[in-house]
C-alpha cells in the first residue's frame, strides 16, 4: 500500500519535511511493536504538538487513511502495528512534563513522556507515579493510558485508569477536547474513563493529567521460595485472605528463576519450584508489623529461604531480577512470546498446570513470571525464530493457554490489551450483543473507522488458529 498522491506533501506541510518518514527502508523500523505480528506503515509522522496531531488526523479523515497513534512501541498486543497500512502517528517527540503540582499531587504530561522519567522527576517533590509496567524504562504515559497498563504495584495502587484524572484528546475528525480534569464527580458521561484503555481506536491522546502519590517513608521487600507453584499460589491467597493487601505480590517459576539468577545474581533460590516477591510500604512501624505477619503466613504455607532486602540496593536488585526477568529468558531461547491473561486468583494453580501441560504438548519451554496477587499470569513461550516452523506452534500454544484462561472464568488480557493479538478471541468472553454495545461507542467516535482499524473487534478474515478444528470446549458459565 502507499498513500494517495499528494498526501505525503500535505503531511509535510504540517509537520515539516524531516518529520514525515516514507522511504521504504526507513519505514521498516516502525513495522513492529513488542508483539509477534508486524506490518509496515505507509508513512510515519513525527508529531510535535497537539495542533500537528489534529491536522494529521484531519488529513487522514479527509482521505479515509488509517491512523495508528504510537508511543515507544513497547506494547505487547500489536496495538501500534499498522495492520491496514496508513499513517503511524508517532508522539514520542511530545515528551515534556508540562507541570508537576506538589500541592495537588498531580502532573500534566505530554504523551511521549517515559513512565519512569515521570516518577524520577516527581521524586524531587517526594511523589511518584504508581502504575509501573515492567517496560517502564521505555514505555510512554500516552501508551500506558491508551492500553490502561498495569504493573507489579497495581495490586495495591490500581492500574492506569485509576490514576488518570483527565486527558486532552484528538478525535477521529481532528477535533481537540479535554475530558475530565482535577475535580472529581464531573457532570455528564465519563468519556475519559471510556477513552483510557481504548487502544488508539477512539482517539489520539495529546496530554494526560495524572495523580501522583506520596513516596511511602518505608518499603519492605521479601523474597520467599516455595517447593511448587501450587504452594506459592496457596500462600498468595493466604496472605490476602488474612486481610493484607501488599503493594506487590509477584511470582516467578523455576525456569524464570534460573535465568534471572544466572543473569542478575540477585540471590534468588534456584532450587525452588517458585519464588514470591512481596512488598509492603508505609511507615516503618507498619511495614515491620505487616512483614512479620506475612513471613509467618508464608512459612505456614511451605515458604522457605525467606530473605528481606536489608538495603535499598538489595531491594533494587531483587526488583531488577523481576523487571528484567523476560530479558533474562534470552539465555534459554532467543525469542519469547509473552502472553497475558487473568484468572480468578484461586484458579492460579489450575491455570499454571494447564499452561505447563500445553508447553509440554507443543514441546516448547514456558517460563512464568507474573502478578500473582491479581491472578494476572504471563506465560512466556520460549523459542528460536530461526526455526521458521516453530512460530505456528508458538501461536497455537499461546491460543490454547488463553482458551484455558477463559475456561477458568478469566479474561483475555489483564494489562497488555486486545489489539491485534487477541481480537479474534473476543467472542470467547463476549456475546454479539456485548460486542455490539462496544461497537456503538466506536461508531459514535470514529464512524469511518480510521483510528487504529483492525484492533479489539474480531475481524471476520482473521480466525483463531485452533478454533476451527476444536469444538465442544466448554467455557465456564458467564458470570451473570
Amino acid at each position: 500500500m502507499t498513500l494517495p498522491n499528494g498526501v505525503a506533501d500535505e503531511l509535510r506541510r504540517i509537520v515539516g519535511r524531516e518529520s514525515v518518514v516514507d522511504a521504504p527502508n526507513d519505514l521498516r523500523i516502525f513495522e513492529r511493536d513488542g508483539s509477534i505480528e508486524g506490518a509496515v506503515p505507509d508513512a510515519v509522522v513525527l508529531a510535535s504538538s497537539t495542533r500537528e496531531v489534529s491536522e494529521v488526523i484531519k488529513i487522514a479523515a479527509k482521505h479515509r487513511i488509517p491512523v495508528v497513534p504510537r508511543g515507544a512501541g513497547t506494547g505487547l498486543s500489536g496495538g501500534a502495528v499498522t495492520i491496514r497500512g496508513g499513517i503511524a502517528l508517532q508522539v514520542t517527540r511530545m515528551r515534556r512534563i508540562l507541570e508537576i503540582d506538589p500541592i495537588a499531587q498531580t502532573a500534566l504530561v505530554e504523551p511521549g513522556v517515559v513512565n519512569q522519567e515521570l516518577s524520577l522527576v516527581a521524586a524531587q517533590h517526594g511523589l511518584f507515579y504508581a502504575p509501573d509496567p515492567s517496560s517502564q524504562k521505555a514505555c510512554t504515559i500516552g501508551g500506558n493510558a491508551a492500553e490502561n497498563s498495569g504493573g507489579p504495584h497495581c495490586l495495591y495502587y490500581g492500574v492506569t485508569t485509576n490514576h488518570v484524572l483527565g486527558m486532552e484528546v484528538v478525535l477521529a475528525d481532528g477535533s481537540v477536547h479535554w475530558v475530565s480534569g482535577d475535580a472529581p464527580d464531573r457532570v455528564g458521561l465519563d468519556l475519559c474513563g471510556v477513552l483510557v484503555g481504548s487502544e488508539g481506536t477512539l482517539c489520539a491522546i495529546t496530554k494526560i493529567k495524572v495523580r501522583l502519590l506520596r513516596i511511602p517513608p518505608s518499603v519492605a521487600t521479601l523474597l520467599a521460595a516455595f517447593p511448587s507453584i501450587e504452594a506459592a499460589s496457596q500462600a498468595v491467597s493466604a496472605v490476602i485472605g488474612h486481610g493484607i493487601v501488599p503493594a506487590a505480590l509477584e511470582m516467578m517459576d523455576e525456569v524464570t528463576v534460573g535465568a534471572v539468577e544466572a543473569h542478575y545474581h540477585a540471590g534468588y533460590p534456584t532450587d525452588a519450584g517458585a519464588v514470591l516477591l512481596v512488598e509492603v510500604d508505609g511507615i516503618s512501624e507498619s511495614t515491620r508489623e505487616l512483614m512479620a505477619a506475612i513471613t509467618e503466613i508464608l512459612a505456614q504455607n511451605q515458604g522457605y529461604a525467606m530473605r528481606e532486602a536489608q538495603t535499598p540496593a538489595e531491594r533494587e536488585l531483587l526488583w531488577a531480577g523481576r523487571k528484567g526477568a523476560i530479558g533474562a529468558l534470552g539465555r534459554i531461547k532467543p525469542n519469547y512470546y509473552l502472553h497475558d491473561g487473568v484468572v480468578p486468583r484461586s484458579r492460579l494453580p489450575q491455570i499454571l498446570s494447564a499452561v505447563g501441560e500445553i508447553g509440554v504438548h507443543y514441546k516448547l519451554p514456558v517460563a512464568n513470571v507474573f502478578h500473582a496477587g491479581d491472578g494476572n499470569l504471563h506465560p512466556n513461550i520460549l523459542f528460536d525464530l530461526r526455526d521458521r516452523q516453530v512460530l505456528h506452534q508458538v501461536e497455537a500454544a499461546g491460543e490454547e493457554m488463553l482458551r484455558a484462561v477463559v475456561e477458568l472464568g478469566g479474561a483475555l488480557s489483564g494489562e497488555h490489551g486486545i489489539g491485534l493479538e487477541k481480537s479474534a478471541f473476543m467472542p470467547w468472553i463476549y456475546s454479539e450483543d456485548d460486542l455490539d454495545a462496544m461497537h456503538r461507542v466506536k461508531d459514535v467516535l470514529d464512524a469511518d473507522g480510521i483510528l487504529n482499524p483492525g484492533k479489539i473487534f474480531p475481524d471476520p478474515n482473521r480466525k483463531p488458529i485452533q478454533l476451527a478444528g476444536r469444538t465442544g470446549l466448554a467455557i465456564e458459565a458467564r458470570w451473570w
Binding site: N162, W178, V196, D433, W479
Partner: protein, 358 residues
Amino acid sequence: MVTSPTVEKPASADELARRLHEAATSKLAVVPVGGGRASGMGDPLDRCDVLLHTTLLDRVIEHSQADMVVSVEAGITLEALQAELAKAGQFLPLDPFNSPGHTIGGLLATGWTGPLRMRYGSPRDFLIGIRVALPDGTLATGGGRVVKNVSGYDMMKLHYGALGSLGVIVAASFKVFPMPLHDVTVTSDGRWDDADRALATPVTPSALEIFSDGRVLARYTGSRAAVDRAVDDLGWKVEERSIWERHSGRAPARWARIAAPRTVLRELVETLPRGAGWWASPGIGVAHWAIASDASSVRDMRARTESVGGALVMLAAPDELMRQAGAWGTPPSTLEIQRRLKNAFDPDHVLNPGRFVV
C-alpha cells in the same frame, strides 16, 4: 403529569430487558428505580410513563471469597451485600449518604459515594463488570469477574454515573476488600487547620470529614502500628465507630454536592452563605451543602465552583428550586459527543427523559 405511571417490577434481568424494550417500542418514558434514595437527583422529568423497579433483582449471583470478587444483581441493597461479604471478613468500601436503603444499581447509576472514597476510591475504581439492559431489548455485558481486565472497552465507565440514561444496570461485579485489621476514628473541633494537619501526617486517614460546626472526624484503618501512630500524632479524642453510620444517614431535604479540586475546596466552602450547614471531604474534593437559601445563592455558588473547574450538582430539592437552579449547571464541553452516545444507546430518549445532562 396527567396519568400516574405504570409500575413494573420484573423478577429477572431478561424480563426487565423485555419490559424496557416494550416500553421503548411504544416510546413510553421509562424511569429506572432502585431504592429510591437518590430519586431527587436530576432535573424534573419531561415524561414518566413506566417506573421500572429493580428491587426484585436482589440476588448475590456469586461471592467468591478466595478471589475477593462478588457479582450481584442490581436491586440488592448495599446493606444486604455488606452482610453477605461480612461473613467472609470482607466488605465493599462504599458508605454513601442517605443510607440505608441504596441499591447497588442505584449507587452505580448515580455515582454517590461517601467518606471512605478517600482511601478506596469510588466504585469507578472497584467495579470490574457490568450488565446493562438496553432499550433495544439486548443485555450487554462489559468487564468480567477478574480484578484486572483490559479486554475491550471499559463499559463500566460508560454507565457509572450516567444516571440510567444509556441503559438500566441489571448486574455488577466488584473487587471487594478485606475488613481492615484495625479501624479507629478520632475527632477534634479544630476546623480546617486540623483537617489539614490530618492530611499532612505520614499515615493518611482512610476518611476525613469536616463539618460546618468545626468538628473534624478522621478514620484510620490498616496495621495496628500505622493506626496507633496516626492517633498518637494527632492526639485527638477517640470516637465511636458508629459515628460513621449516623453520618451516612445524612440527607437534607434540599442539598447539593460540590465537587472541586482538593486544593481549592476549603476556599470554596468558605464562600457558602453565612450560617450554612455543610460537611466536606477535603481528601476527596467533595462537599455537601444543606441549602437553606434561594436559587440565586445556588447559582452564585455554582458559578464560583465552576470557575475553579468544579461542579455543583443538586441532589434533592423541591421542584421549583430545582427548576430555578437547574440540577447540573453548565453542560460539559463534550456535550455534543455525549448526545451522540445517548442516541446510539437510547435513540428515542425513553430513559429518564430530561433528567440527566443527555
